[in-house]
């Protein structure tokens, strides 16, 4: 049943998310795009919308995917699924394991998982970049076709980001970055 599957999938994703919302993206891609629930294109759109709307990214993206796959009830199931591991684990820790973060095995496990999460997000972004630049954004199969427009956009935005950081001494906020990409997208692709 789709509702149970959504719940279970997002429960797993919540359970294996270490280090914030973006760490979920590799798993969402494997599970949700892999099962054919939504397209890779739709997922990047949802990421953009989830980042540009208020609320934690992790909750926004879960609600969005759930709604697309299983309607309103689907979004309820995926959102509950993604928060439930947190709820259970944090309550247990608050109840019985106050010394949790000073435990050396917990520290060790975190030292082991951090490089993995970093590598997974990097790999996902590299694959996305290659898809956008050479494969019309969908899969890694088919004919190679260099997308000059996306490349131009990439150079323009990262160039601006670089200058902004040098001049303002701080990074551009994600919302402004997305606003800029949207505007440039409209100019370049329309």
């Amino acid at each position: 049943m789709i509702y149970f599957e959504l719940f279970y999938t997002f429960f797993l994703i919540g359970l294996f998310t270490f280090g914030g919302g973006y760490a979920m993206i590799p798993m969402i891609q494997e599970q949700v795009v892999g099962k054919g629930w939504i397209s890779a294109d739709a997922l990047t759109n949802f990421i953009a919308i989830s980042e540009a709307t208020p609320g934690p990214f992790a909750l926004n993206i879960s609600t969005f995917v759930g709604k697309e796959v299983g309607g309103v009830l689907g979004s309820v199931m995926s959102t509950i699924g993604v928060v439930l591991p947190s709820l259970i684990i944090i309550i247990i820790i608050a109840m019985i394991m106050k010394k949790f973060i000073t435990n050396k095995y917990v520290k060790g496990a975190l030292n082991g998982v951090k490089p993995v999460v970093l590598a997974l997000i990097l790999s996902t972004s590299l694959v996305m970049l290659i898809k956008v630049l050479f494969f019309r954004g969908t899969s890694l199969k088919g004919e190679l076709e260099f997308d000059m427009k996306s490349f131009t956009l990439l150079i323009m935005i990262s160039g601006y980001l670089f200058i902004h950081k040098k001049v303002m001494k701080k990074g551009l906020s994600p919302i402004l970055l997305l606003g800029l990409s949207a505007l440039l997208g409209l100019i370049v692709f329309y």
């Binding site: 280090g19 973006y22 997000i121």
Partner: protein, 196 residues
């Protein structure tokens, strides 16, 4: 209502985290100032020091950091009901807003101008992901084992992507392996210390 009334506290927890959900973008760290102001300055339920502990624990447990923090603060203030209501409070604004947008998404995406916008956004999202990597990179200690774990995960993940195997549990398994490796290395490390 009295300040120490259970229902009053539960209501405040719900409203506080609904506010957090409604007014913070991105989640996680963006939430900290609002939580501090409401829970620690205004209601004095949790002191500054405890807030720092809560942040550290939320970062080191599985699950989205924002959800972990809401649950933990809620639990500290009013036990399990507090944890549930805080988390619900955090969920409600996101849920309503995203649901609202999703009703129009399928129609909107057919509009040509919006398709162009989303093509631009795709490039923006990729840049955001790369900058997330750079940001997270600061929290990782640079040492030999870490670098080996990082490099091997990256290679395995890229190879699987290009082979297009359709295997859906690779990230999950790699995360699990990372956790296990970390624990094993700690055990080896403490044994070495004992023999010295």
């Amino acid at each position: 209502m009295k300040k120490n009334n259970v229902f009053y506290q539960l209501l405040i927890l719900f409203l506080t985290f609904a506010k957090v959900g409604l007014f913070t973008f991105g989640g996680g760290y963006a939430m900290i100032p609002i939580i501090q102001k409401e829970v620690s300055d205004r209601h004095k339920w949790i002191n500054e020091e405890e807030i720092i502990d809560i942040i550290a624990i939320s970062e080191s447990t599985p699950g989205p950091i924002a959800v972990n923090m809401a649950t933990y603060v809620g639990y500290k203030v009013r036990g399990i009901p507090g944890a549930i209501l805080s988390t619900l409070g955090l969920m409600v604004p996101s849920f309503v807003i995203i649901l609202g947008i999703s009703f129009f998404y399928d129609e909107f995406i057919k509009i040509r101008a919006l398709q162009a916008i989303f093509k631009g956004l795709k490039v923006g999202v990729i840049i955001l992901l790369f900058s997330a990597v750079l940001k997270l990179r600061k929290g990782v200690k640079v040492n030999l084992t870490g670098t080996i774990i990082f490099a091997s995960t990256l290679i395995i993940s890229l190879v699987f992507s290009f082979l297009d195997t359709g295997f859906r549990y690779l990230s999950l398994i790699l995360i699990l392996l990372g956790l296990i490796t970390g624990v094993v290395l700690t055990i080896i490390g403490s044994k070495k210390e004992k023999t010295k």
